[in-house]
């Protein structure tokens, strides 16, 4: 049965108990800040122009305040006095089948949780936090799109979201190690696996071993040049992705994060380094400790911060002349706006390329590529995703760059599709790939 029909039949089968369960999860996810947000929207509508969905398809359903209102109406109906006494006056509505359907469309189908509306809201409402609560409620009602849930299930069952076997992973690492040794001419260039007591545990997106081994090789080359004491793990804990951030099931997200925590404990590493992945960074750095309700006994860093340290400390030397093609930088929402990693990648790139042009807008104002929020895993919304990505395509075209650097593998997937859809004719690379190309071997 096609995914669309499956969801329709799940909606048709919803009963009162499902709605009550959804409401209970929704209530449990809300904190005092969220309650404040839900009491604050004045329906000014100015947020519309901040949303890439609305910019490319200016309809009411794409206005962030509209998406928020669908959720706020249920909040009012169930958790406010006026919502109970005068629902028509304040726009309070029950969570019923029709509303559940509207929620699915709004929070899964028309939002990448990028948070651009938050920084543009005249009041300051962090809309994605509310949308996450709604996604969690829908999950409790069995309404997470099945392909998105399948990605989470892969991680839970196989320890990585692409269901790679241990053998495939280990053999790929060994093969990349041989490639690295050939590239560097150094038989001691390694991609260490399960090195006990290594300082750094490096984690990757499964897309790298599966489809983009050169990306992993580039990171390894940087570690090699910096003489880093690093390792990866052969067992669970090598995959940095966590689509629990997108289905918003905290229990499942916590179990996936636990793989990383266990690997750190198993190997006795000091720093967990997240490869170039926006949501993976946000999940491990920011949400993971909250899901597991613990202070991590180790440091969590993005590889961007590590490379920035290497350049600053002179552990690697870069020759920008080796990257003469004009470069622009995409700011992944979960890494920059929600992650706080704004400048490290810029400092590194300025050392690694000859011509670096900022996109307009940039940093926390940058547009989402359209692939965030689990959109890449939800086939049913593909046409909307590509349309919404038009804003990013316009930014890239306007930059005049021929290489788009994107420190996020999900973004790279989306940008690759945009490259074809909008005939951008650009190369798309990671920061590590640019750095690896610019490396000047230390004497």
């Amino acid at each position: 049965m096609p995914e669309l029909d499956q969801l329709e039949s799940r909606l048709d089968g919803l009963g009162e108990a499902d709605f009550q369960r959804g409401l209970a999860v929704f209530r449990a996810k809300l904190k005092q800040a969220d309650a404040s947000y839900l009491n604050s929207c004045v329906h000014c509508g100015l947020c519309a122009s901040s949303c890439h969905y609305h910019r490319m398809d200016p309809t009411l359903d794409n206005v962030p305040a509209r998406k928020l209102e669908l959720i706020a109406s249920v909040f009012k109906r169930n958790f406010t006095t006026m919502g109970r006494l005068a629902p028509a006056l304040v726009g309070a509505r029950p969570l019923d089948r029709e509303m559940a359907k509207a929620w699915v469309d709004a929070v899964f189908g028309r939002c990448s949780l990028c948070g651009r509306c938050s920084v543009n809201c005249t009041v300051g409402i962090a809309l994605p936090k509310i949308f996450r609560a709604a996604r969690a409620a829908l999950g409790a009602m069995g309404l997470v799109p099945s392909d998105l849930q399948a990605t989470v299930d892969n991680s839970l069952e196989h320890g990585n979201n692409m269901a790679m076997t241990r053998q495939d992973w280990v053999e790929t690492v060994q093969w990349i190690e041989e490639e690295l040794q050939m590239e560097t001419g150094d038989p001691e260039a390694k991609l260490p696996l399960d090195k006990q007591g290594a300082k750094v545990l490096f984690t990757v997106n499964p897309r790298e071993p599966k489809f983009f081994p050169l990306s992993l090789q580039a990171s390894a080359k940087v570690f090699w040049a910096a003489r880093e004491d690093w390792t990866m793990t052969a067992d669970n804990g090598w995959d940095l992705t966590n689509y629990g951030l997108f289905n918003c099931n905290d229990e499942q997200a916590g179990r996936i994060t636990q793989n990383l925590v266990d690997a750190m404990a198993r190997l006795g590493c000091k720093t967990l380094v997240i490869g170039e992945c926006g949501h993976g960074f946000a999940a491990a750095r920011w949400e993971g400790p909250e899901w597991l309700r613990q202070n991590f006994p180790f440091e969590v860093k993005s590889i961007l911060e590590l490379m920035d340290d290497y350049v600053r400390d002179g552990r690697i030397r870069l020759d920008p002349a080796r990257n003469p093609i004009p470069v622009t930088l995409h700011d992944p929402c979960n890494l920059v706006r929600h992650g706080g990693i704004c400048e490290a990648q810029r400092r590194v790139l300025r050392q690694a390329v000859t011509t670096f042009t900022e996109m307009t807008p940039n940093r926390e104002h940058n547009f989402c590529c359209g692939g965030g929020g689990g959109q890449l895993a939800m086939a049913r919304y593909k046409s909307r995703r590509l349309q919404a990505g038009g804003m990013k395509a316009q930014q890239i075209k306007a930059s005049g760059a021929r290489i788009v650097v994107a420190p996020c593998h999900n973004c790279i997937d989306q940008l690759s599709e945009l490259n074809k859809e909008y005939q951008l004719n650009v190369q798309i690379k990671t920061v590590a790939e640019m750095v690896a190309d610019a490396l000047v071997p230390n004497s």
Binding site: L30, K31, Q32, A33, D34, S36, Y37, N39, S40, C41, V42, H43, C44, G45, L46, C47, A48, S49, S50, P58, T59, L60, V63, R66, F79, M82, A86, A88, L89, G91, S118, V119, N120, T122, V123, G124, A126, R285, W286, E287, P289, E290, L292, R293, Q294, N295, F296, D331, H338, G340, I341, C342, E343, T360, P361, N362, R363, E364, H365, N366
Partner: protein, 209 residues
């Protein structure tokens, strides 16, 4: 004290108590956990949210909609001025000279801006779709409040109408979206704290070329 003055005081007390109760209810949802080590100082984020982050040029959405934003600001200035005049009236005072001229200017401009925003809400299909009856009631009450404050400053005969309108406004304030007069500040605080803790605020980005 006239019955209308007393009515305004009671309505004001109701508004404060009801908003306080709503604040307590919101707080009962509990704080978000903060196990992750901060990357920035939440206080700097809060400071930014209430200062530079409020500037029109800090938000692309505002720069793209300057007339609406400007109307909103004037509307708010008019209503706040009218509230100030109300408090002075309750205290038996009346602004004079330049202060009165300024108050009249602001309340009149505020009333016009409110009416313009109401018209926009009625005419603009997208904005109308976003709206519920509360949006119209809230605007009408505030617009009328500012307009009557202006009118009553010229004619004592209109003071009764203005004070009655003030009672309606204050009674309604916690019930509908006017409650953002309080929740704006808590939301702004949480917004600044969230992005400050993550090191995103104060920002360095730009939406300008």
């Amino acid at each position: 004290m006239s019955p209308l003055h007393l009515g305004v005081l009671l309505a004001l007390a109701w508004a404060i108590l009801a908003l306080g109760s709503m604040h307590r209810k919101a707080k009962a949802f509990g704080p978000a956990s903060t196990f992750a080590k901060p990357a920035g100082d939440f206080r700097r984020g809060v400071r930014y949210a209430f200062t530079k982050g409020m500037a029109p040029w800090a938000k692309e959405s505002v720069m793209l909609n300057l007339p609406s934003y400007g109307a909103g600001m004037v509307f708010h200035a008019g209503v706040i001025t009218a509230l100030g005049m109300l408090l002075l009236t309750l205290a038996g005072l009346r602004p004079a000279g330049l202060a009165m001229t300024l108050a009249r200017l602001l309340t009149l401009a505020g009333a016009f801006a409110g009416a313009a925003l109401l018209a926009k809400r009625l005419v603009n299909r997208e904005l109308r779709g976003l709206s519920c009856p509360d949006d119209f009631v809230a605007n009408l009450l505030c617009t009328a409040f500012a307009l009557l404050a202006f009118a009553a400053s010229f004619s004592a005969a209109l003071a009764g109408a203005w004070l009655t309108e003030a009672i309606l406004l204050l009674v309604y304030a916690p019930m509908g979206k006017i409650r953002h007069c309080f929740f704006f500040f808590t939301t702004r605080y949480h917004f600044g704290a969230f992005f400050g803790r993550r090191g995103t605020f104060p920002p360095g980005g730009s939406f300008h070329a």
